[in-house]
């Protein structure tokens, strides 16, 4: 009886260690794959012929297509910040600080982070699904068989477009958000326009704008890397299944991973750069 129990414990431990090791090796391989993928994409930036028209198409899709969702997110966030700000600051008789609070929160935090999350949800998922479908229907294999570099042809334009679009969308988010805050605080709740604008201009310096810009570049890089990479490796991702199911699973995974990475890097960048 004792021997049998001992044996079952050993078997459990062996199985546990086997699965743990297997999982670690898989994660290590996945990180390695994504690293090599990134290297190939960056190398694609220097290969010719450069696909200028495809870059424009992607700028239109990632940047132009995200304007509406980013606009409404920014307007809503700015207005809510204005309302909440007035409600809180009035308790301390400091509603003159509203402009400063709204502008700093939007430029350093909400602008970069919400823009990245919106683009990850709208364009990142679409990019991942497109590349995933191209992979499972052998279109990427077909490119390789024609001796066409799939990174230069397919991935690099999307990468560049995201890195150009996201900071511009973030800038738009900041402007629209601040206007939303102004609308709610000044036009609706009667905070003085002069104190709002004066507070904003005196507190926002180049440093805050640079921090927001650096964040938006890093977030764009992360979300497009994860979205394109998950789609490209759809067949190697464990547990993703096959066919249409695999594409749907990796697309969800891409959005979740992008969002988590953006949130983690937001904290790290704030801690390092503030």
């Amino acid at each position: 009886m004792e021997f049998s129990l001992q044996k079952s414990k050993t078997t459990f431990l062996t199985t546990f260690l086997f699965h743990l090791g297997d999982r670690c090796l898989y994660l290590l391989a996945d990180v390695g794959r994504m690293g090599i993928f990134l290297f190939a994409v960056l190398a694609g930036l220097f290969k010719r012929p450069f696909r200028g028209r495809e870059l424009l198409k992607q700028l239109h899709f990632i940047g132009g297509g995200s304007i509406t969702v980013v606009f409404f997110t920014a307007l809503s966030s700015g207005m809510v910040l204005g309302l909440q700000g007035v409600y809180t600051l009035q308790k301390f008789g400091a509603d003159g600080m509203l402009g400063s609070g709204v502008a700093l929160t939007l430029i350093m935090e909400l602008g970069p982070i919400l823009t990245a999350l919106m683009v990850a949800g709208r364009a990142g998922s679409a990019i991942c699904a497109e590349i995933g479908i191209m992979r499972i229907s052998e279109q990427i294999d077909a490119l390789e068989c024609m001796a066409v570099d799939p990174f230069r042809y397919l991935i690099t334009p999307k990468f560049l477009a995201a890195i150009i679009s996201v900071p511009l969308l973030t800038a738009m988010f900041d402007v629209v958000g601040i206007y939303g805050g102004y609308l709610a605080g000044v036009k609706l709740l009667g905070v003085s326009s002069g104190s709002f604008l004066n507070g904003m201009m005196s507190s926002v310096t180049n440093h805050e704008i640079q921090l927001g810009l650096i964040k938006s570049f890093v977030f764009a890089f992360l979300l497009v890397w994860i979205s394109t990479g998950r789609g490209y490796f759809v067949l190697q991702i464990r547990g993703a299944g096959f066919g249409a199911e695999s594409v749907s699973k990796v697309t969800t995974q891409a959005v979740v991973l992008s969002s988590i990475s953006v949130l983690i890097f937001d904290y790290l960048l704030t801690a390092v750069l503030l």
């Binding site: 297997d22 479908i133 229907s137 052998e138 294999d141 077909a142 390789e144 068989c145 024609m146 042809y153």
Partner: protein
């Protein structure tokens, strides 16, 4: 520059050579053998048909030749170059010798028929737009696709997709053309049409063909060599008669099941 003797040797040497190739799939502890120490050659300018049941490694064989998959051991020589040891750049140059017709044609969904066929010319040659248009117009005429150039793959029938795939595969005048299940999902008339097109283009361009197919025995009519894959092992035959005469039990079983009345006759 190659000397005359070297050129002559190139002409007589095999186009593709498998040497002791092994390929496994699956994770540790659950490895599934697909190819086990497989060795055979694909003669230059001829048609080799690779047949076998599902999951026997037919499509894997094509991916190994193209360097899209790496074998676990062994060598795969294409024009004397070992595909398994080539770097990215050399592999890409070697792939210029290939044309591939994929099982589902693998046409780019977002590109029209014209753009699909023009892609290899635009990306891999210095042809002007006029030259490309002229060349594609001829190809479309040969493959009876004139008038469909503006359509997108989703608007095409299965047979038309295969024809567009074939047109794209032949644009760079490849030395070796790989066909992955070229007639799967097609009706008998379309199937015959694809075989006729294959014969016409091979006669005209003289390429080496490797055809992976389930369409037994019809596809054997095209073959100069038949490779049968069975549980990781290969058997090479020159024609159907040799298959029928084989005394190996698994070949007899295969022949009985697939050649049917032809076998009994």
């Amino acid at each position: 520059m190659l000397t005359e003797t070297e050129k002559e040797q190139n002409q007589t040497s095999p186009a593709v050579e498998f040497i002791e190739v092994e390929k496994y799939f699956g994770d540790w502890g659950q490895r599934h053998k697909v190819l086990h120490r497989v060795s055979y050659t694909v003669p230059r300018g001829k048609t080799t048909v690779i047949a076998g049941g599902s999951g026997q490694g037919k499509s894997v064989t094509l991916k190994l030749v193209l360097g899209l998959l790496k074998p676990d051991s062994g060598q795969i020589l294409v024009d004397g170059q070992d595909v398994t040891r080539l770097g990215r750049k050399k592999l890409r140059n070697l792939r210029m010798k290939f044309g591939v017709l994929f099982q589902g044609a693998a046409l780019f969904d977002s590109l029209s028929v014209f753009e699909n066929i023009a892609l290899p010319l635009r990306e891999r040659t210095r042809c002007t737009e006029e030259e490309i248009q002229e060349k594609i117009a001829k190809t479309l005429e040969t493959l009876e696709l004139t008038g469909h150039e503006k359509k997108f793959p989703a608007q095409l029938s299965g047979g038309m997709k295969k024809r567009v795939g074939l047109a794209r595969a032949l644009q760079l005048d490849p030395e070796i053309v790989l066909f992955d299940e070229p007639t799967t999902g097609l009706d008998p008339v379309m199937t015959q049409e694809i075989y006729d097109l294959f014969q016409q283009t091979q006669q005209r361009l003289g390429y080496t063909a490797i055809i992976v197919s389930h369409d037994i025995p019809h596809v054997f009519d095209l073959a100069d060599q038949i490779v049968l894959l069975n549980r990781g092992e290969v058997d090479v035959f020159a024609n159907i008669a040799q298959i029928k005469d084989s005394t190996k039990p698994h070949i007899r079983e295969f022949a009985e099941m697939t050649l049917g009345s032809l076998f009994k006759g």
